[in-house]
Amino acid sequence: MCCDRTIPLLAGFRMPPTKLPPEHHLVRNVPWGKLRKDENDPEKVIGVLGEAFKMRPVEQTLSTTWLEYFAGTRQQQIHGAIRAMRASSLDIKTKSGFAIGNVGNIAAAAAARDHSIRVLHEPVEDNKAHVAVRRWPREDMLLFELLAAEAWSELVLNNSPDIPGGAQPAPNQSAWSPPDRE
């Protein structure tokens, strides 16, 4: 054969973004003002406000981080995701939190409110584990509150003694690969 049949990728060519499997998880930074507090103790966090899942005016998609991108046990994956977010351009404050939700449950909750979302791995310069949730509604207070109460209610606080300090950018490669590439 005279020619190599492999077509070299052109500069700038991008692989289509990976769609996250429904059993995987998303992590979203929740600032202090969007954490649900105890009525009698403003420093005691009891959950997440639906407002945490509302896109900020500057966001075009809902920005999150992919938990299974990181290697190790679930606890190690959570540490990896938090350290990667701390290393990104996000303004992570000491008292902020991180909400963790299952992709399938989030998509089902959105579908029940007639939103057909797409959860795509779209790495960005400062966070290779970045996930963009597309077709996310700008306004749906009931959906956001339901997510905060159920599908996206697992919360880890940034100042929790169980979470090691420090920041470390996400690795260039995901620890997870799709079944057909294994």
Partner: protein, 207 residues
């Protein structure tokens, strides 16, 4: 016929108080005359450094804006709610505001909460009575009031002009019931009445 004196005063000219200046004694020595003139010149033609200039909001740091907002909210509370909130309740509210608007915790991408939203929050809290809510903020400068009872939660966003957006999640015989809407603070008890939140959250607003 009376004519109006429309002549513009000449600000460059020193002010001459004339022979009588209220009840103040007139200067008696040359030195005191000079001190008096200098003081009058400063009052009539102030130097730029003598004028207190308000810093444009866009040039203020986030810490300055949060400080100003906190001061405004506390002043507003003293003005509107002094007769309705006792000392402990005021102190509790101020603690919530201090915690929420702490510069070390504030998300720099958020708009600082507005006085218009705080006024709605305060009026709503006074109107509803009962349990005082926990507080949160939106990215666009509104306060959020929350009440939580186990898995049941009532969340109200306070918008300007007494407008509120509310979401209620509650369990009824093991089944999740949800409701949401937009109304005014005055109509809130009526709008929420089917969900019977009064026994738990606003016992004084039912009547």
């Amino acid at each position: 016929m009376t004519s109006l004196n429309t002549a513009v005063s000449n600000r460059a000219k020193s002010y001459d108080p004339g022979p009588f200046l209220g009840a103040l004694p007139l200067p008696s020595t040359d030195a005191s005359v000079e001190r008096w003139r200098a003081a009058t010149r400063t009052l009539v033609n102030p130097t730029p450094s003598a004028i207190v200039q308000e810093v444009p909001r866009s040039e203020m740091t986030i810490a300055e804006r949060l400080y100003d907002a906190l001061a405004t909210f506390k002043l507003k509370t003293a003005m509107l709610a002094a007769a309705h909130l006792d000392r402990d309740e005021r102190s509790r509210l101020f603690k919530q505001l201090d915690s929420l608007l702490d510069v070390e915790s504030w998300d720099s991408t958020d708009t600082v909460t507005t006085e218009a939203s705080f006024t709605t929050l305060l009026r709503m809290v006074l109107f509803l009575g009962g349990r005082r809510p926990a507080l949160g903020v939106t990215a666009i400068g509104n306060f959020i009031a929350t009440w939580t009872e186990g898995d049941d939660r009532l969340t109200i966003e306070c918008k300007p002009q007494d407008h509120v957006r509310w979401v209620l999640l509650q369990n009824l015989d093991g089944r999740r019931e949800t409701a949401a809407g937009e109304t005014t603070t005055k109509r809130l008890p009526d709008v929420l009445r089917p969900y019977d939140p009064f026994a738990r959250w606003f016992p004084h607003a039912a009547n």
